[in-house]
């Protein structure tokens, strides 16, 4: 029988609520698996063993008392390293706060999951302050791709995707400014949701760019994503309903057809045959990506200004150089980016008059090699750290929710497809995702046996 913690969140919770298995068993099994793989390869860089086992014991006691511990009863989960955990320093992939200050309380998203019976087991590796697409961290090491240890996991929240792909936990929470959930989900073969801005609470996360950052789940099952979203929204009403009748799919061309590598082009072929009959050559995507890059540089640099002045050496070199460059940006450039963002967000909503869901590749191709972290962009060898998110960045700037699913026929390594809906259209995304899984276009690959 498969180890208990490898099951879906829905199955674990059902088993715990029914008293068929104890939350403590699940928790111990997950912790053993994480320790067996080790850090940073497991995706985890901090384990809260005592807290997790105490929490699991409490869940079991609730069941033993004949009460319901909640819809996520006994489900182990991890969070990216920039989520506050009570009595711990929030390191956010950095050394800056390694000695404190200590968080007074858990991040709101952790509170909500644990109130539904879930069990936090640890925090996961990421690019320093989520600034990058690679999870190559100067302080906590590189978390490799579980499908090929010589390759990048993607980032910024790569540890969260790796932990789920490794089956150490069924769900992780991370955040996404520009693709930090979706890129590692695509490269590691799991599901990643970047919801509409504000859909989930982000209180208690140390965000680099609060104006764009969204908290979201990573999982192996679409039902788990739906369940986690439901718990995190805490009863808030939906902003929009699923459209009546069959969903109308559309293919975004133009920018999203450029720089696509051959394996991705081949893997997308069945997607286009099934769902690509309507296509739109979306304009100004290059401007959206440029605006996103400028907003992140300016807001991130401003947030870190005092620390950069005090001790620039405490930052990893790559992060420090990017943040210091951001400090030199003219205000005019930042304002131009903000004005463009306002304009394109209004225009982007018009896209959905004729389609409910748009489809694009999630990333250009397979995960790049750790030793050669570059991709081809417009014919130029370009750092993966800043360019893996070329298809996710513009969507974030446009304020659109999107979900990444692993493609079933990707070849030797995972590849991801991105589904995009109108703001508030998460339920539409879930219906579309379910259809892709049902049609055999999407499928979550297993990881090598050694994991």
């Amino acid at each position: 029988m498969a180890e208990l913690h490898r099951q879906s969140a829905v199955d674990i919770a059902n088993a715990v609520r029914a008293g068929r298995v104890q939350a403590v068993e699940i928790c111990a099994s997950a912790l053993a698996h994480i320790e067996r793989i080790g850090s940073p390869d497991s995706g985890f860089i901090k384990i809260f063993r005592e807290r997790a086992l105490l929490r699991a014991e409490a869940v079991d006691k609730i069941v033993q008392a004949g009460l319901d511990p909640g819809r996520l009863a006994g489900v182990p989960f991890g969070v990216a390293d920039h989520f506050d955990v009570a009595l711990q320093p929030t390191t956010a992939g950095s050394r800056l706060s390694a000695e404190g200050p200590f968080a007074h309380r858990d991040a709101k998203a952790i509170m909500l999951l644990e109130a539904a019976g879930a069990v936090l087991v640890g925090r996961q590796n990421m690019d320093e302050f989520t600034y990058g697409f690679v999870t190559v961290n100067a302080h906590y090491g590189t978390t490799p791709n579980p499908h090929d240890k010589d390759r990048l996991a993607g980032g910024a929240c790569g540890g969260s995707a790796v932990a789920v792909a490794n089956e150490t936990v069924p769900i992780s929470l991370a955040s996404d400014i520009n693709g930090s959930i979706r890129i590692p989900a695509a490269l590691c073969g799991v599901i990643g949701l970047a919801p509409t801005y504000g859909d989930f609470p982000n209180e208690g996360t140390q965000s680099l760019v609060e104006s764009l950052d969204v908290v979201g789940p990573v999982a192996r099952q679409i039902d788990d994503v739906v369940l986690v979203r439901d718990v995190l929204r805490d009863g808030a009403p939906e902003r929009s309903a699923v459209p009546r009748g069959p969903l109308r799919f559309g293919r975004l061309k133009g920018w999203f057809d450029q720089n696509v590598e051959d394996p991705m082009r081949a893997a997308m072929k069945p997607v286009w045959e099934e769902f690509g009959r309507v296509s739109l050559d979306l304009k100004h995507v290059d401007l959206a990506r440029a605006a996103a890059s400028l907003i992140i540089a300016a807001e991130g640099a401003n947030l870190h200004r005092a620390s950069l002045v005090h001790d620039p050496g405490i930052y990893g070199a790559t992060t420090r150089d990017r943040l210091l460059a951001g400090l030199l940006m003219p205000a005019d450039d930042y304002l131009q980016a903000i004005r463009f963002q306002t304009w394109i967000r209004t225009r982007a909503q018009q896209l959905f008059e004729h389609c409910d869901v748009f489809i694009t590749p999630a990333a250009p191709g397979f995960a790049p090699l750790i030793e050669d972290p570059f991709i081809e962009f417009d014919g130029v060898r370009t750092p993966a750290r800043s360019h893996l998110g070329i298809y996710t960045q513009p969507i974030s700037l446009m304020g659109l929710p999107s979900i990444v699913l692993p493609l079933a026929h990707s070849g030797p390594l995972p590849l991801g497809v991105q589904l995009i809906a109108a703001p508030g259209g998460e339920q539409t995304l879930f219906e579309a995702a379910s259809l892709l899984f049902k049609n055999g276009i999407a499928s979550v690959p297993g990881v090598p046996e050694s994991q």
């Binding site: 739109l280 050559d281 979306l282 304009k283 100004h284 290059d286 401007l287 990506r289 440029a290 605006a291 890059s293 400028l294 540089a297 950069l308 002045v309 620039p312 070199a317 790559t318 420090r320 150089d321 990017r322 210091l324 460059a325 951001g326 400090l327 030199l328 940006m329 003219p330 450039d333 304002l335 131009q336 980016a337 004005r339 463009f340 304009w343 225009r347 800043s386």
Partner: protein, 67 residues
């Protein structure tokens, strides 16, 4: 007086970058400047891309691009 577009601005150098960082209140060692300048040039390229958007009128200077 001439006003350059964002794409026509001069590229930063180690010398000008150091001066601008000092103006911003940061005294950075010379060995750090190369990486900072490289990133600043990338940001300039992004800013130049946004020159196509006319912020004043929110009117597209390249009419017809939107399909």
């Amino acid at each position: 007086m001439g006003v350059l577009s964002r794409g026509e601005r001069s590229r930063p150098t180690v010398k000008t970058g150091k001066a601008r960082l000092q103006e911003a209140g940061l005294d950075v060692n010379d060995e750090l400047l190369e990486g900072i300048i490289r990133n600043l040039v990338v940001l300039q390229v992004h800013a130049a891309t946004l020159d196509q958007f006319d912020a004043k009128s929110h009117h597209w200077m390249m009419e017809g691009r939107y399909g």
